[in-house]
């Protein structure tokens, strides 16, 4: 078998980019910094694709035995805790990790290239690329890490770089607030992850993925429970909370829409294609364990389904283009989650794969559009189909893909998911079906109100090549990624799944999607008061959904009112007044006593003599008659 040692380069090159650009970018080469970053990522993308090729199609690698158990390599002892328990730096190689590095590096490359044009002339151009490099490094590290704690390390790094990138326009208070929100919410989720790690590591006495899984599935494991639930389930559940936080599952999704304050390419990279699916990846990584624990899997299922629906509903009401896309991302990830929840491992990964393409594409197109109209509000847009034909086409492709219209990529993955859901849980299946309809609707609502809706005049704005190329490539991906025989490459136990072509199952979703598109066309095809009418019809629910079901408000109430006022302030007050007060009280008491006894020093010599003799008498009585 070939050695994959060079795989280490894939994350390290972007890291090098970060270090170099971060330290010297501003001063030495602020204009080439973009090219440097892109170049490095280009190399690692090439490597990643080479790995993927070698892994999936290389000689002798199709062997089941090889796929079935992951390969852990480049093991380096990083922080030993105790003889058997330590954080290693190691790379895991198995189908999903390989697929993920390919996707991540590829999308990141696209974004790098796109940003060359998009972010041109920015004040902190170099910094931007440095951060992108950092993110790419951490994300690749995350997917490659072969040790649970290593995953956590990169998990945190990813969060940090997302924080930095969201806060890129740090002079905008909204951006700062969004960055803070993103970090804190995900941090809160990570607390679950951390405790989960502690539990699992204590149970398994190891952190290495392979060993971990083996140990934990070992029936001889002492079955300890807490509150009647086995510690293993607790651990898995807590880890899922961590995943849910990163993947913006309800109720930890509130940071995602605000995160759109960041530059649009960043949203494309982090908040659409890669980081947000980390949760899915995490669950998939430990899928054998989750599979062994139906209870937790149920939670995953319902959380996923509910988030998908909720996000879709909200998406229908938003008017900020990026927010709509954000909610759709959330909804799609919901799909992946409930796919996992319903044993649709392959389907979920597949959807992750395809979603990366069309969602990134959507965001990049949105970026172009926003530059064109200088606003995020779709109200201001309309009739852009002639002004920016290329964008128009790409956007359309992406919409079709996400709406699940054959033969675009989205169709295949989504259909697999629905199939899995159907086998697992009918209710969830119906939810998924409905959601797919909604998806088609809000996507095309977006599409129509951007590109049609107004009479369009042709003075095509020219797009720099660096921007158009990624769009085209991604569009191709979005269109044809579906034909990759995914199920043969990837499944939990390595055994290829029986792939099913177009079956009857596909009819319903497609029909619903078409219906949704139709409604969208009817409402937003050309300028009219129809949408207003509809809104008026469902006023109450509309406003409710428009305000994202007031979830943000609930959060801010809890944090601002309850935690700050009922815990923080009292703590600070108690510290100053009671704990510190005690210390000052001691001093005050001493002073009082010393003032109290000053009378003895009366300055009268006769008193002195008197006390003198009284002292003698006292001593005499005390030590002759009392203690003898």
């Amino acid at each position: 078998m070939p050695n994959y040692a060079y795989i280490a380069l894939i994350p390290l090159l972007p890291l090098a980019g970060f270090v170099v650009l971060g330290l010297f970018g501003r001063r030495c080469f602020r204009h080439f910094s973009g090219l440097i970053g892109t170049g490095l990522v280009l190399v690692s993308t090439a490597l990643a694709l080479w790995v993927a090729y070698q892994y999936f199609f290389g000689t002798g690698h199709t062997a089941l035995a090889f796929r079935s158990h992951p390969l852990i390599m480049l093991k380096a002892d990083w922080l030993p805790f105790s003889p058997h328990l330590s954080i290693d730096l190691s790379a895991i190689i198995d189908p999903i990790s390989v697929m993920m590095i390919a996707v991540v590096s590829f999308i990141s490359l696209m974004v790098h290239i796109f940003s060359l044009g998009y972010m041109k002339g920015e004040e902190r151009f170099a910094t931007y690329y440095a951060f992108l490099g950092l993110f790419t490094f951490s994300m690749l590290g995350l997917v490659l890490s072969g040790n649970l704690f290593e995953t956590y390390i990169f998990w945190e790094l990813v969060g940090c770089s997302s924080f930095l990138l969201i806060g890129y326009y740090y002079e905008r208070p909204t951006a700062v607030a969004a960055a803070k929100k993103a970090f804190i919410v995900t941090r809160f989720a990570d607390l679950g992850f951390l405790v989960g790690i502690l539990i699992l590591s204590f149970q398994a006495k190891t952190l290495d993925f392979n060993m971990l899984i083996v140990q934990l599935l070992d029936p001889r494991l002492p079955h300890t429970t807490f509150l009647g639930i086995s510690l293993l389930s607790w651990g898995l559940f807590l880890i899922f909370i961590g995943g849910a936080g990163k993947s913006a599952m309800f109720p930890l999704h509130i940071w995602l829409p605000d995160a759109m304050e960041g530059p649009t390419p960043v949203s494309a990279l982090i908040h659409a294609a890669t980081m947000v699916v980390a949760g899915v990846y995490l669950v998939a990584r430990l899928y054998v364990l989750y599979g062994s624990d139906p209870g937790v899997l149920q939670i995953v299922l319902y959380v996923g389904a509910f988030s998908a629906l909720l996000a879709a509903i909200i998406a229908c009401t938003q008017t900020d283009i990026k927010r709509v896309l954000a909610y759709s991302t959330m909804s799609q990830i919901g799909y992946m989650m409930f796919a996992l929840g319903s044993y649709g491992y392959t389907a979920s990964i597949f959807h992750l794969f395809t979603h990366a393409f069309f969602k990134a594409l959507l965001f990049l197109c949105a970026g172009v559009i926003i530059h064109q109209v200088q606003s995020n509000e779709i109200k201001g847009m309309g009739g852009l189909r002639k002004t920016m034909p290329l964008t128009h086409v790409c956007f359309l492709v992406a919409c079709l893909a996400i709406a699940g219209i054959p033969p675009f990529s989205g169709f295949f993955s989504k259909e697999d998911i629905l199939l899995a859901a159907y086998q697992a849980n009918k209710l969830v299946y119906l939810l998924g079906l409905f959601t797919s309809g909604l998806t088609a609707f809000y996507m095309f609502r977006l599409y129509f109100s951007i590109f049609w809706n107004k009479p369009s005049e042709r003075h095509p704005h020219k797009m720099p090549l660096v921007e158009s190329i990624p769009l085209v490539i991604l569009a191709l991906g979005a269109a044809f990624a579906g034909f990759i025989p995914f199920s043969r490459l990837m499944n939990p136990d390595g055994a290829p799944e029986a792939t099913h072509g177009i079956s009857g199952m596909a009819i319903a979703p497609v029909a619903l999607a078409l219906l949704g598109i139709g409604i969208a066309a009817y409402l937003y095809g050309k300028e009219s008061d129809r949408p207003a009418k509809v809104v008026a019809a469902v006023r109450g629910f509309y406003t409710f959904a428009y305000h994202k079901f007031y979830i943000d408000e609930v959060y801010s109430f809890i944090t601002k009112k309850i935690i700050f006022n009922l815990i923080g302030r009292p703590a600070a007050w108690i510290d100053r007044n009671i704990v510190d007060g005690l210390m000052n009280l001691l001093a005050a008491v001493t002073a009082r006593i010393s003032a109290g006894i000053k009378g003895f020093q009366s300055g009268k010599v006769q008193d002195y003599a008197l006390y003198f003799f009284a002292g003698i008498a006292g001593l005499t009585v005390l030590f002759i008659y009392i203690y003898t």
Binding site: D77, W78, L79, P80, F81, S82, L85, I87, F149, Y152, I153, F154, E156, L157, C160, G167, Y170, E171, P173, V176, A177, A179, K180, F183, I184, R187, F188, L191, L194, V195, L198, I199, S201, F202, F564, I567, G568, R569, A571, A572, D575, V579, D580, L582, M583
Partner: protein, 508 residues
Amino acid sequence: MNLSFLVLVPLITAVAVLFCRGLNGIRWVSLAGATVQLLLSFGLLALYWRERAAGNGTAMLFEYRHAWFPSLNIWYHLGVDGISIAMILLTAFVMEAAILVSWKVERMGKEFFVLLLLLSAGAYGFFLSLDLFTLFFFLEVSVIPKFLLIGIWGSGRKEYSAMKLALMLMGGSALVFIGLLGVYYNTGGAGGPHGFDWQAIAQMHLPAEVQRRFFPFLFVGFGIFTALFPFHTWVPDGHSSAPTAASMFLAGISMKLGGYGCLRVAVYLMPDAARYYSPIIILLATIAIVYGAFATMMQKDLKYINAYSSISHCGFILLGIGMLTQTAITGAVIQMISHGLMTALFFAAIGMIYDRTHTRLVERLGGLLKIMPFFSTVFVIAGLCSLGLPGLSGFVAEMTVFMGSWQHAGEMYRLATILACASIVITAVYILRATGQTIMGPVKDPHYNGLADATWNEKLAGVLLVVGIIAIGIAPFWLSDLLTSGVSVIMGHVEKAIIAGKAVIIKK
């Protein structure tokens, strides 16, 4: 190498400073002294590694004994193991940075540097000494310089804070003193000579009831130095009124004296008692962690924020020590180092910002990233380190503590661990609020725009500390390897104690 150099170099430097005239001379001389010290510490590290590589397995290396008061069996006794070397390195780093940042001290510059150097001499001696008397001597040496530094060069209610700090620390050392006497008179067994040599004491394994009687004195006494709840109230006032260099040293080193003492003296000499009292220790530590974090959220003044967060972070040290597992104690020591560097960096950044903007109030500052990119970067790095970002030292320390604490199966200990973990979220909250309001956002005050960024010395100081933080953050193995031997010696005693305790229980 003769360890006395490490104590002498700062003193010699101080004397040299006394004799130089002109601020520049003073600055450069003291900087030179600190640098020599830094190099010496690195040399010490190298020598240590060489010895270990040569297979020298003795607990303490480079021992130096000299009879001080033979009639009382008091020795001037120095020696190092991994832990002390780590602490010495920390001190050297912080001192170098402290001298660099106090370049601008104009008023009574000579006195300032002399006192600073004396302070450091005390710290070095403390970490080096193997005789409890010597240790106590060096522990108390630092009282005067602290008082004067805060009281003369401080800001705000400086006299009050200086007085409070001096008195509370003196109270702490009074408790330590009682504990030491208790230990002393229980050594030597029947009629044998009493002694202060702590290795010998540890070998002779004090009787359990003695341990239980005197452990609280030692632990609380040292605990006051490291902000043990509820004796932490000197920290906010002291740190916030102190001049930059002094607060760097206070939070970076002085608070570590306490942790080191708790570990080296209290736990090492009295393992039984340590086990006996560990629930109380854990309780207090957890309170300090959580409550300190919450109290921090409400602070308006940057220095207060950092001071309170120090309380919370030093809670981790005590937590780790109280858990009495190898990993947890290692984590505690790493946390000492990490917090030392991190908080020093924080105070340095705050001080430099304060020098320019003349305010430390969060709501007055804003958008500094645009004006002073260097300070802001340093500040952000310190912040990220304090909220435990991987790649920076804070993460390593905290994770080790958590890992180790979790090894201690037991509902209450687990709960404490989880609460401690939860505190890192709160940490994130207050750090990001502070950062978001001061570093990011629009520039609040127009005439901040004219302010200059770091000068070379400030940059050097910042870089020095950042390098330290990152060196631990991305390659923690060397540190943990350095500490292992020392910690396992301590753990050896603790386990012996556990076995002994079990034996006692069985007898009953």
